[in-house]
């Protein structure tokens, strides 16, 4: 792993301003990524804090990715895919749901607030929903502040 990554947190936050969280979003190609495209085409303004990682399905989001993101400098992780029953791969999103449930317990053990891992369903046509989800999450994490235990973690 590149050491440069883990050291610095929220580098773009200007000193004068309030804390600006960095959020990594794992989104599925078929629903939420499409919704994010739609939000873009509809010019729905979002804070720049969310950075997307395109996955083919939320079912392929390995818990390691979430932990890697949180340890690597993200203040929160969003996982978002198709609505239950709509999964392009039959049931990948259900698998993601179980993993997030279990991952929450693991995060507790890392001393990471479970609000920092959010799972949502945003369908391909829900551009508004995507922009709102992103903006709401940023707001929530901004209030939560940076991860308290980051400097204490040894991994």
């Amino acid at each position: 792993m590149d050491t440069a990554v883990a050291e610095e947190e929220t580098p773009q936050a200007p000193a004068t301003e309030a804390f600006e969280p960095t959020i990594v979003a794992f989104v599925c190609n078929w629903c939420t990524y499409t919704a994010a495209d739609l939000a873009g085409t509809s010019r729905l303004v979002q804070r720049p804090n969310v950075r997307l990682v395109r996955m083919m399905c939320t079912g392929m989001v390995d818990p390691k990715y979430v932990i890697k993101a949180l340890l690597g400098g993200a203040d929160a992780v969003l996982i978002s895919g198709c609505h239950p029953g709509d999964c392009h791969y039959i049931n990948g999103n259900y698998k993601a749901r179980r993993r997030v449930k279990l991952l929450n317990d693991i995060l507790d053990q890392f001393g990471i607030d479970r609000r920092r891992l959010k799972l949502t369903w945003v369908g391909a046509s829900e551009g508004n929903e995507f922009a709102e989800t992103v903006n709401d999450l940023i707001e929530e994490i901004r209030e939560l502040g940076p991860i308290e235990t980051r400097d204490m973690m040894v991994l």
Binding site: M1, D2, A4, V5, E8, P11, Q12, T22, V24, N29, W30, C31, Y33, T34, A36, D37, A39, G40, T41, R43, L44, V45, Q46, P48, R51, L52, V53, R54, M55, M56, C57, G59, M60, V61, D62, P63, K64, Y65, K68, A69, G72, G73, A74, C82, G85, D86, H88, Y89, I90, N91, G92, K95, A96, R99, G123, A124, S125, E126, A131
Partner: protein
Amino acid sequence: MANRIGVYVCHCGTNIAGKVDCSEVARYAGGLRDVVVSRDYQFMCSDPGQDLIVEDIRSLGLNRVVVASCSPRLHEKTFQKACARAGLNPYMMQHTCIREHCSWVTKDPEEATRKAEHIVAAAVRRVARHQELFSREVGVLPDVMVVGAGIAGIQAALDIAKSGHMVHLIEKGPSIGGHMAQFDKTFPTLDCAACISTPKMVAVSQEPNIHLMTYSEVTEVDGFVGNYKVTVRRKPRYVREDICTGCGTCLEKCPTKVISEFEEGIGMRKAIYRNSPQSVPNTPVIDAEHCLKLTKDKCGACEKFCPTGAIDYTQTESSVTLEVGSIVLATGYDTMDPSPIREYGYGRFDNVYTALQFERLNNAVGPTGGKILLKDGTPPESVAIIHCVGSRDANYHQYCSRVCCMYALKYDHLIKDKVGHSVPIYNFYMDMRCFGKGYEEFYERVQGEGVTFIRGRPAEVLEEDGKLVVVAEDTLLGEIVRVPVDMVILCTAMEPRKDTAEVARVFGVSRSQDGFLLEEHPKLGPVSTATDGVFLAGTCQGPKDIPDAVAHASGGAAQALALAAKGTVSISPTTSYINPDICVGCKVCIDLCAYSAIEFDERRQVSVVNEAMCKGCGSCAGYCPSGAAQIKHFNETQVFNELEGLLMPVKPPAPAPEKIEPQTARRPAAEVVPEEAAPEEAMPESAEPAEAEV
């Protein structure tokens, strides 16, 4: 070989460059590890833009490419092909999006530029770990399935059949023809609907390349593009199609009368019925819910009187499996039930009709034999037509149903023609949308016939002294009007079929916000879906009039044919791979796989992926406790690298424009941009792509 990465930042005209400082991003990217060249250009997707990549791959020996432009859903293939042209494996390219997810949604240019830098850094990090992948070619089965036999399904099936390919045409109802079979005339030419649609319906039944299955539904779709296995459930007709001559004796003898769906509830049918004498196939069906023989074991009249002995009460549901290369969905629309709009009185007042009911009143084989009559059997002396009922209405459907203005004009004309020119007709409209060929001319013609147009959505329909009264604001006069009439026609919205959710699930397609089936791209992919080999035709995609539905259907047919004619299709290599050196044989992935694509190799005690069946969803990779299962092109190292890039600190630009050491400092000293890059500059046009600053 060491990585030699080229980064290309697109301006997309001003779409990206209007917010993101593209040359600044390119400069930043030039300082990233292993980046050999980094350019920005006005339109990367254009010919000269792609040539930039091709040239650089050849002359600078790039072995990895990053393109930062629009969404990969739009142009990933374009740039993959450009790489392939230059001899680079297309999977050595990473297309990343700085338009939809960055320039278009970020307010502040400074922030947008920083975000773009993060995105590009992630792509550069990720592409460094890309591996060469090779698509597989698989055969495409020659047969095509069309689901739904309304006018769109019929058109698609006929087009495909004409090419010599076999078509399985599946229809849920007892007869084909769809809603068009319910109409009497069509706008704006006033052709009789039956005169243009029944010959097509007959052509379907006579076409040897069409295998028509009515009263049937698709229950399951398995497989992938080119190789679908479709299970069709056939409901029992209780009438043998092979023997029945369609003489109609059974219809006369059946004693049970029920309300007819085809007549939109204003006519009756028997328990054994067909939609109309022109139905295709002409074989009736027995409605098991109402037939006395089937429910109470009484009657049996139809069997007694059938001259050919075609009635068979013992028929049961059966199912068949068909193998097809592609599927065209033409499942159509429903018209909205206006009962929830209480204020318009539908269902409360006798003479408030929906548009489809009015179509049946006009139809020569409808309940009134084509006469426009009130419920009491007299012709109306005045009529109100209310447009946009349930359409363009935040409470019901926001979209415009596209056909109502025109059929309302058709009704105006038909009423004048059939009942008499003295009958006053009031159209309550919001806007007149007469956009098609000959439509505006038809509007003018109807205006000339003395029809009244009142702009304003009516507030309510009342009953006063045996008359219906439409209360509305005439928004052009700014006055409240109360118009007494005998008959009110509601132009009800076209809406997605009730079972659209089920259809979407079975065929693995998405739905758009309005509930219709979702096309791949609203402008450039209106007939394909996100599922390869599944195409859309007609109103299942959104409201359409007949010409549009037919054109759309021919488009769907052409796409299905293109697949069938080529005979092969290349399958994405981004499947799962289980590393036998790491796999511990826990078998968890086998149960997780929704496609049964993983088997266990008893001899080696490891799980093995069957790539032909794997769709690359990553269920196995997301879980595998030992990390043996990985999705090609989305493997752990690639995602980890992308994350590192995404979270890498991006320094705000130094106040002085020349200060760019932070970037250069990060570069390994050995890798320097070859000087040949400069003469390369001889660019077409005046657009000067900024060269990587080193």
